[in-house]
């Protein structure tokens, strides 16, 4: 699913100040949702969308470390200015949806966007 399709489904608008549209065709292959940083850190993010209600700068850091494609803030929340700045710097598009977390997840799941796996981080035995 393309990033622009995700935005349409979530009725989301950009939370960047810069133009995000060059990233509109980036592929999103899974989704993760949480309001806890430690949870997010246990996800494996490559090509994944992050749904969260956390709006501070550390959410962007975590998305950067895990290679998330983009972040969408739920329930109408807007990211803090430092968060927007860092996200633009690291080229992680940000969106805001008026939907609550449950409905945002539900719509994407119904559109057949699967959950990400946890497999990658398992240590070499």
């Amino acid at each position: 699913m393309k990033l622009k399709d995700v935005c349409k489904i979530l009725e989301a608008e950009s939370a960047w100040e810069a133009d995000w549209t060059p990233s509109a065709t980036r592929e999103v292959t899974s989704c993760q949702a949480s309001d806890l940083i430690s949870d997010i850190l246990s996800f494996r993010g490559p090509d994944s969308l992050l749904l969260t209600g956390l709006t501070n700068v550390q959410v962007i850091r975590v998305a950067e470390l895990l290679d998330f494609v983009a972040i969408c803030f739920v329930r109408g929340k807007r990211p803090e200015p430092e968060a927007v700045k860092l996200a633009e710097d690291k080229d992680i598009p940000l969106f805001a949806t008026p939907l609550l977390m449950y409905e945002a997840c539900g719509r994407l799941y119904a559109a057949r966007l699967p959950a990400g796996t946890k497999k990658e981080a398992s240590p070499i035995a």
Binding site: V57, Q58, A121
Partner: protein, 306 residues
């Protein structure tokens, strides 16, 4: 990411000028050249058309199509001047290549004479093939430069002659600086990617570093993260001088947390930090003495290099 590559190509097209890719040694004919001579000129130079020049000025263009038409009419005796196209569309050498390509496309022409700006002096000729070849050449040069840069850092361990070698990165972490925290993990991630270590391994090292960094930021007055990179492993050492962990076994238990409310409000303090580090590590050791400090050692084995 494909988007980035497209941007790079677009950038190149805008950067390139007609003069960079055109043929400079242009074969020209004079208006007085007999059309019957055209066959040899086109064949010998392996070209399909040529500008017509008189006294150094462009006066027309004649192509193999004109020649074929002439043949079809029974090869009447005449000069190039009688058969050439007179209103020639040309481009300037300093024009962006993209404009010239658009012109070729729009007009359906196979070639465009190139003039020195402000004059009618022919300095070259641009064909569709030249445009493509020029772009490919430029792309190839850029690609090689990128490859060389990559190779320089990713093969560093093979290039060093020693029984053992390691790279050491140190990151100072300040206590309490929420907005800046995470910069060490970010810096380490970028550096490891540049060393060509595979992305999964890099992510594990980055997550472990990040969790350790946040612990330093929330619970101590600051500390030091040292990353020791060897050809087959990444070792992380995280040290601080207080306050220390009372019960290490308890601290390791998933869900156990001593985080105050303000930390929890920021999305942290779920008691998963040390557990996450353990999940990412191939080996982990945590030593702590209350009032003295804590030392965390993590080892991650480096698999195949990309």
């Amino acid at each position: 990411m494909p988007e980035l590559e497209i941007t790079k190509i677009q950038e190149l097209i805008y950067e390139l000028r007609v003069g960079d890719v055109m043929h400079k040694d242009v074969v020209t004919v004079m208006p007085s050249t007999p059309v019957s001579k055209l066959r040899e000129i086109l064949r010998d130079n392996r070209i399909s058309g040529t500008p017509v020049v008189e006294n150094g000025r462009l006066v027309g263009i004649i192509s193999v199509e004109d020649f074929i038409k002439w043949l079809g009419e029974g090869s009447p005796g005449c000069a190039v001047a009688d058969r050439m196209t007179r209103n020639v569309i040309a481009v300037c050498a300093d024009e962006p290549l993209i404009q010239a390509i658009n012109k070729l496309e729009r007009l359906g022409f196979g070639r465009l004479p190139v003039l020195k700006r402000g004059t009618e002096e022919v300095v070259g000729i641009l064909t569709r093939g030249d445009s493509i070849a020029g772009l490919l050449k430029k792309l190839d040069v850029d690609y090689r430069q990128a490859e060389t840069r990559h190779a320089r850092s990713s093969h560093i361990f093979e290039d060093i002659v020693a029984d053992r070698s390691s790279l050491i990165f140190e990151y100072d972490v300040a206590g309490g600086s929420f907005d800046r925290a995470g910069a060490s993990a970010s810096g380490l991630k970028t550096s490891l990617m540049r060393l060509g270590i595979n992305p999964q391994t890099v992510r594990r090292a980055a997550i472990a570093t990040y969790e350790a960094e946040m612990n330093l930021m929330f619970f101590t007055n600051g500390g030091l993260i040292t990353a020791i990179i060897e050809s087959n492993s990444i070792r992380l050492e995280v040290t601080d001088d207080g306050p220390g962990i009372e019960n290490v076994d308890q601290a390791m238990r998933p869900g156990f947390s001593t985080a105050p409310d303000w930390v929890r409000e920021l999305g942290f303090g779920a008691g998963m930090g040390l557990h996450n580090i353990k999940t990412c590590a191939d080996r982990m050791r945590l030593d702590s003495t209350v009032g003295v400090g804590t030392r965390l050692a993590v080892e991650i084995f480096v698999g195949g290099q990309t």
